[in-house]
């Protein structure tokens, strides 16, 4: 039995924030957990899927986040507890359903867990979905440490049930992907029975149909008021510091840990008060009044948008007759950066400035010595496709096909590992990069610009999971409107970017059960698109097929490039070729190739040996895909079947 499910009440475990959220859901007795993979959210569903059998719960990787929330909401409507988990982008995908779901309300506890990415460490954006709580008038919870990540997930499910509406729980990368030791609570043994009561009157919240109706807007607000009343006494809102500090620091989420550390680093525990809020929308007014009355100077520490700052200011303005005029510091004052993630040093800087303290983390002498000896000595480590990655081979051929075509054609990008093809590792092939499925939508649009004189061929890239998530409607649009472009489906048999979760195209479910695989090739053909399939490791055939498709101007075409991700368990388990460089044949700098293999192809497993002035295989890194043997014009790279 796994610790996550079987770990006994009162025992201590070192868990990732996402595992703490998963445990909290189990302690609340959830029956259903759904999600779509996205860093930093994926481990919540991964871990729950691993214990689904023993815990008797249902988990799935849904086709996209909107469907994930709908599947979880159905459980709630049938009086079961459920969570839907996604990254910040996903909340946008689910947004249309959220807007309507809050109007019908919920029955069994339902929590939407959004794991967000301040500082865009693993995202193209640092979207802040806290505003969705305000937009949709639902409660927002933000755990401030790992224990709270568990406890607040459990409490969020209870809260949702108490008020009869959705609750948003927001984590961030430094909480979700950080780890801490936490104490487990009990996991209930009894499982709820599912039943959807729909026979009652139209507006009966307990036994009627679940209908999103505008006339229920007032009910939504009444539910929110109930939540605020509960927030007033919540143990997740804490104050540490003197009764009357010189400065009040208000914060939430991972910023609580940075703030506590900054106060300790500066040694101002007896001068600065720390108000850590766990219930950040709506802010409980009585609790805020009490704390805002402590002093006149207030620093708000948070990441991305000034969400907390704005909401505190609104309350302070309303309360001004009672609590007096306050001076606010934070993002608007420039003390806290308006973009990017925070860390203890940034909070130290803000606090040091406001408290008139200077702080030197290391003696100047050491700093100067370090600057002289090591600053900028470590070579840059830009992002690159893995050794043996099929995308490197695919983009090699796509890039060459576009060059050979010669009409200044281009490729629209999408979301996945292959987004890295905006960089030299993918030969800078992708010329647009936006949201899930947008490459196909944009290509569909570019292709309709012929009547305005655009004569460049248009390509779009899309991964297999992304195809199911959001590209199918764009492809349908293109077929119907005879938009002339080629969609290149990079089918690497999994949601590789986020840790190889299954998707509807695979014969396996999140819970490792057999599942009917949805055939993407058949879908494309059924839409009426011309479809070709190649192995991207066959460089010549891939390039030739793509050039042929680009010359075919009859609407939308699809090229499926099928080769498993180099990190898939199957490929990791086998090395097809032993690679070596024949030093007699590699003439190094004297070859006319201008070091094509190392300067351009850029696989981490094929390095340049300065001493020998020749290419060399790094046998620790090389996975033996064999592709580099086909790019060497001098046939100096040899592959031997193992």
């Amino acid at each position: 039995m796994s610790d996550l499910y079987g770990g006994k009440e009162g025992t201590t475990h070192l868990v990732m924030g996402n595992e703490a959220i998963a445990r909290g859901a189990l302690e609340a007795g959830i029956s259903v957990a759904t999600g779509y993979p996205g860093t930093p959210s994926s481990e919540v569903i991964e871990r729950l899927a691993e214990v689904a059998g023993e815990a008797g719960i249902y988990t799935e990787w849904s086709v996209n986040e909107k469907v994930a929330l709908e599947v979880a909401a159905a459980a709630s409507f049938a009086e079961l507890r459920a969570i839907a988990v996604m990254k910040q982008n996903g909340v946008n995908v689910a947004a249309d359903f959220i807007l309507h779901l809050v109007l019908s309300g919920t029955r069994g506890g339902l929590v939407l867990v959004s794991c967000e990415d301040p500082g865009y460490l693993s995202s193209q954006n640092e979207g802040d979905s806290r505003t969705f709580a305000r937009l949709n008038e639902i409660p927002l919870l933000e755990p401030g440490d790992f224990q709270e990540a568990k406890d607040m997930t459990k409490w969020g499910l209870e809260l949702s049930e108490q008020i009869g509406n959705l609750v948003l729980l927001r984590s961030v990368t430094r909480m979700s992907h950080a780890s801490g030791d936490i104490t487990f609570g009990p996991v209930p043994g009894e499982r709820a029975q599912a039943r959807f009561r729909h026979e009652g009157a139209m507006l009966d919240p307990e036994g009627g149909p679940m209908l999103a109706l505008g006339l229920r807007h007032r009910e939504v607000q009444e539910k929110l008021k109930k939540a605020v009343a509960l927030f007033e006494d919540s143990p997740f809102n804490t104050y540490e510091g003197p009764e009357e500090p010189e400065l009040l620091l208000i914060t939430s989420s991972a910023c609580s840990l940075y703030s506590r550390e900054a106060i300790a680093v500066l040694g101002v525990q007896d001068r600065v008060g720390l108000l850590k809020m766990g219930t950040t929308w709506p802010l409980p007014p009585e609790l805020m009044k009490k704390n805002l009355s402590r002093c006149d100077r207030i620093l708000v520490v948070e990441e991305v948008l000034p969400f907390l700052e704005d909401n505190v200011k609104i309350l302070a303005a309303e309360m001004a007759p009672e609590i007096g005029i306050k001076h606010f510091y934070g993002k608007k004052s420039g003390h806290i950066p308006s973009t990017g993630e925070l860390n203890p040093d940034l909070v130290v800087a803000a606090l040091g400035d406001l408290m008139d303290l200077s702080y030197e983390p290391v003696p100047a002498e050491f700093r100067e010595q370090a600057d002289a000896l090591v600053a900028n000595k470590a070579p840059p480590r830009g992002l690159t496709f893995c050794p043996g990655c099929p995308h490197r081979a695919s983009f090699w051929s796509i890039h060459n096909a576009l060059e050979l075509d010669g009409r200044k054609g281009f490729m629209c990008g999408d979301v996945g590992c292959y987004t890295l093809a905006i960089l030299p590792t993918g030969f800078s092939t992708l010329r647009t990069a936006h949201s899930m499925g947008s490459g196909s939508g944009l290509a569909s649009g570019f292709a309709k610009l012929k009547q305005f004189g655009m004569d460049q061929p248009v390509l779009a890239a899309c991964g297999d999971s992304t195809f199911f998530h959001a590209a199918i409607p764009a492809l349908i649009n293109a077929v119907h409107h005879e938009a002339d472009f080629t969609l290149v489906l990079l089918d690497n048999s999994g949601t590789a970017m986020t840790g190889f979760q299954p998707h509807p195209g695979l014969p396996i479910s999140a819970m490792s059960d057999n599942a009917p695989a949805v055939d993407m090739e058949a879908i494309c053909r059924s839409l009426g698109a011309r479809v070709e399939v190649c192995d991207p490791f066959d460089l010549t055939r891939t390039r030739e097929t793509l050039n042929d498709l680009m010359d075919d101007e009859r609407g939308a075409k699809v090229l499926i490039l099928r080769q498993e991700c180099a990190l898939s368990p199957e490929r990791k388990a086998s090395k097809p070729y032993e690679m070596r460089v024949d030093t007699a044949s590699c003439v190094g700098e004297d070859c006319g190739c201008n070091r094509l293999c190392t300067r351009i192809f850029g696989c981490p497993g094929l390095v340049w040996d300065e001493a020998a002035k020749a290419a060399r295989i790094d046998e620790v890194i090389c996975v033996g895909c064999g592709v580099c043997a086909d790019i060497c014009p001098h046939e100096a790279i040899l592959k031997e079947e193992i």
Partner: protein
């Protein structure tokens, strides 16, 4: 093994390397060992870029008090462990201080910028002398090369953990390691990992520890 107490609270340790070297696994194993020994542990990781050739870091905060920030403040590392040697240089200017100790692997992984000829990888001599200059103690271990001899470069991270125990700079209990490994890996992989750990310990203790660092392997 070493002192049973931490030199400082929180004790700040960074494990750095390149995606795919088992950085996260090493931090998890060490963290779990310390939790078993009654400490509070907070670990901050860089993910996402991890398997795509980027630099990766795990920040460990080990404390008798409670949770700390998952990001160590600048200049506050007590120990830096580098699974890739140039990554130690990258961190020393940000997190180093006169008390910092360094344990480094000796096998370089060339970044694509180096492979393409756009950047230069410093010589091992330069790396070792810079690290020695900037640290209170330094150890260099040929962990990957030994792991390759064991049959799989992935054992490099566990050899390094064993070497860390061997330095005595840090209270690590071999029994806790065995327990954690048994809980982490399938049974058939436990022995090899314990062998790797012992090998790392041996590699450090076999050689006389010099104040200004030693090269082993």
């Amino acid at each position: 093994m070493g002192a049973a107490r931490l030199a400082r609270d929180p004790y700040n340790l960074i494990i750095t390397g390149v995606g795919g070297q088992g950085n996260v696994m090493a931090s998890r194993v060490l963290g779990n060992m310390m939790v078993k020994d009654g400490y509070h542990v907070t670990i901050g990781e860089t993910f996402g870029a991890s398997q795509r050739g980027g630099s990766v870091m795990s920040h460990l905060r080990i404390s008798k008090e409670g949770s700390w920030s998952p990001q160590i403040p600048r200049g506050q590392a007590d120990f830096i462990i580098a699974l890739e040697p140039s990554e130690a240089l990258r961190l020393l200017s940000v997190f180093g201080n006169p008390r910092v100790r360094v344990l480094s692997n000796t096998r370089p992984i060339h970044s694509v910028a180096v492979i393409a000829g756009d950047a230069k990888y410093p010589s091992m001599n330069e790396i070792q002398s810079s690290i020695q200059e900037l640290s209170a103690d330094a150890w260099f271990v040929a962990a990957t090369d030994e792991a390759v001899k064991m049959g799989n470069p992935i054992y490099g991270n566990i050899i390094i953990l064993g070497a860390l125990a061997g330095t005595g700079a840090f209270p690590m209990d071999r029994e806790s390691f065995k327990t954690v490994i048994s809980e982490t890996f399938p049974e058939d992989r436990v022995d090899a990992n314990v062998r790797a750990y012992d090998l790392g310990m041996e590699m450090v203790s076999r050689s006389e520890k010099a104040h200004d660092g030693v090269t082993l392997g």
